[in-house]
């Protein structure tokens, strides 16, 4: 029995031709607002850096700036992973724990192979394969339940969060897996690929370019925006929404997996707590950067700006010797503020 949706129609939504402003006026107004928001974040970043430098001049030192760039590179991967899913109007709460379990799994495999005197290239390939493979599984799990069964992404990823957490702590025995071999860490962390630029930054740039092309130039990317904006219209027009939604979650987890591999290479060990606050940070970075939680709005630039902002914030707080716990509180406040702003943006548009 089809129960009528909603309730009494509070107003007739199909009246659309008697508008309050002329079309031209509306778009001029809107364009101005959009420019305002676009410039806001870069200005904010610069302003914040300058403000902090008054108290702690080290913030603007070359070394620190490079440090921030490197840090942001990692966060960029996670923020853009989250962004892919937020574009469709969904969410991935399991990101942090997935990162942990991938880190642990990769570390175990690579250390195991190294102990068995496997050749360097095998260690690297195996490490990558395992890491991305686990990411694929997590993404497939999430995607399956969200797209085909149709469960709320929060609930699904809340469940997979716990599953990953359980797996991470189980297979690691609760302790970090040390001595990840150089064959793995060298290509992903030490040294430079392009002279002068640390590898993590290079990798992040590649990922950024790849994502830009994916979102802007492929049918998949286009579909993500359409599904996020009006899923019913997308289905009606013949876009295979379920398939693309599934792929969105897989993409998210693969990106997170790549980030996890980079982090593991950096720390040199598989950490069951690696993903700790990553879930919140990645959401904060995406939302602050301008990715709308309603879906259908976002891109690689917002992810980049958001990552730099959040990294700068925590970097500044570290230099100013603000306690870790206070930082967590601040992060929570920042998230709520960002969501609030996002809501205003949405109602204004």
């Amino acid at each position: 029995m089809s129960f009528p949706s909603g309730g009494p129609r509070l107003f007739d939504a199909s009246i659309s031709n008697v508008s309050l402003r002329s079309a031209a006026e509306t778009s001029r107004h809107r364009r101005a607002a959009r420019w305002g928001f676009v410039l806001l974040l870069p200005l904010l970043i610069v302003a914040m850096a300058l403000a902090v430098s008054l108290f702690e001049p080290r913030v603007l030192s070359l070394r620190n700036i490079i440090n921030i760039l490197v840090q942001s590179s990692y966060l960029l991967l996670f923020a853009s992973a989250q962004m892919v899913v937020i574009l469709t109007g969904g969410f991935d709460l399991s990101l942090g724990m997935a990162v942990s379990v991938i880190s642990v799994a990769t570390a175990l495999v690579t250390t195991g192979l190294a102990a068995a005197d496997a050749p360097a290239w095998l260690v690297l390939i195996a490490g990558l394969a395992v890491g991305l493979g686990v990411g694929l599984l997590v993404g497939a799990f999430n995607g399956l339940f969200v797209s085909w069964v149709g469960i709320n992404p929060f609930v699904v990823t809340l469940g997979s969060l716990n599953i990953c957490y359980g797996l991470a702590t189980t297979i690691s025995g609760g302790r970090p897996v040390f001595n990840v071999p150089d064959a793995f860490t060298r290509p992903l962390y030490d040294g430079t690929f392009i002279p002068g630029i640390p590898i993590p930054v290079t990798l992040a740039i590649f990922v950024a370019v790849f994502l830009y092309l994916l979102l802007d130039r492929t049918v998949f990317g286009r579909a993500l925006y359409l599904i996020g904006n009006n899923p019913r219209a997308a289905s009606l027009a013949g876009i295979p929404s379920r398939r693309y939604l599934f792929l969105a979650y897989v993409t998210c987890s693969l990106l997170a997996a790549f980030g996890s591999l980079m982090l593991t290479a950096r720390t040199g060990s598989g950490e069951p707590n690696l993903g700790g606050s990553l879930m919140l940070e990645s959401i904060a970075a995406a939302v602050i950067g301008g990715v709308s939680l309603q879906g259908g709005v976002g891109g690689i630039i917002p992810a980049i700006l958001g990552s730099i902002f959040v990294t700068l914030l925590s970097n500044a707080m570290n230099l100013l010797e603000v306690g870790g716990y206070v930082q967590q509180i601040l992060l929570g406040c920042v998230i709520i503020a960002a969501i609030f702003l996002d809501r205003i943006r949405a109602t204004r548009a």
């Binding site: 909603g6 309730g7 149709g150 709320n152 469940g159 716990n162 359980g166 609030f340």
Partner: protein, 347 residues
Amino acid sequence: MRLIGPIMSGKSSSHCAGPTSIVEWILRSYRPAGFLPVLLTVLLVAFALFIPNFVAVQNLLNVLRSSSYLVIIAAGQMLVLIVGGFDLSQGAVVALTSVSSALVMVALKETFANEPGLIILIGVLAGLGCGAIVGLVNGACVAFLRISPFMVTLGTMSIATGCALLLTSGIPVYGMPQSYVEGFGRGLWLDLPTAFYLAATVVAVIWVMQNYTRMGRYILAIGGNMQAAIVSGVPVKTYLILSYVICSVLASVSGLAFTAQLGSGQAVINAQLTLESIAAAVIAGVSIKGGVGRVEMVTLGAILLLTLTDAMDLLRIDPRIQAIFLGIIVVLAVALDELSKRRAALV
């Protein structure tokens, strides 16, 4: 009298006036939770027969005690789920309550050395106050700012956890009054844990609320069809906020009881608490979409969950692996709920 006509578009299996048999009525009213009491009984019998030490008095008391903590929290989560929301911050509220109540009690130790009752009272009020504030923030953001409850409670969860850690630097807080810890936390009245009586009271109060007060109907209406509630003049914002406040306060209550039993204020408490409360509610037939939920079912759901956990502990299954099971159970329970709804809609 059977009315025949091509436009009759009700459930094709029912007559016009509704189901005709009691069995059909029961099945329709208690869709996924209809099997819950049966399942619980079966499991209890099975565990009693096949797991050694399951029926040991000490074990049963433990299960009863931990179920009590979960029941109180799950009842709170149920209220929020009924109005179509979600509360991820419950675990953090428990931590914050634990920490603040302990700190307050320790701080007042000197001042009111001869009146432990007063110390306890103020400490408890401080703890409940934390819950009330968090609930108020959650509710206000959802009702007035119309922000998604997932996001708000994600934010408050982070803030509350941060505060709890900040206040204690991660170190447990010892020094609560003996009478509180021994008498209330670890005590037994009539051979049953005190927490049990607390939970029983909470369940009774909520049961009365659901069946005999306006609030019970209003929250079902808000979650079931908000437009209908608005048009019928139900003060929607008020009851939304009230639901979130009660949810957080109940988390505080459970936190206080748990802290008393633990004997110290802890900022790091069971990380899975929130998921467990959601799991208990969902197994009990509370829908994520809102509009459905009965506290007696949630009680059974909580008991079922903890009985399973206890059995797994007795069977020496690693708690970390249990975490995996928990995640799978939640996803499957919600999937079942969703699929059964979809099938019902096609009928």
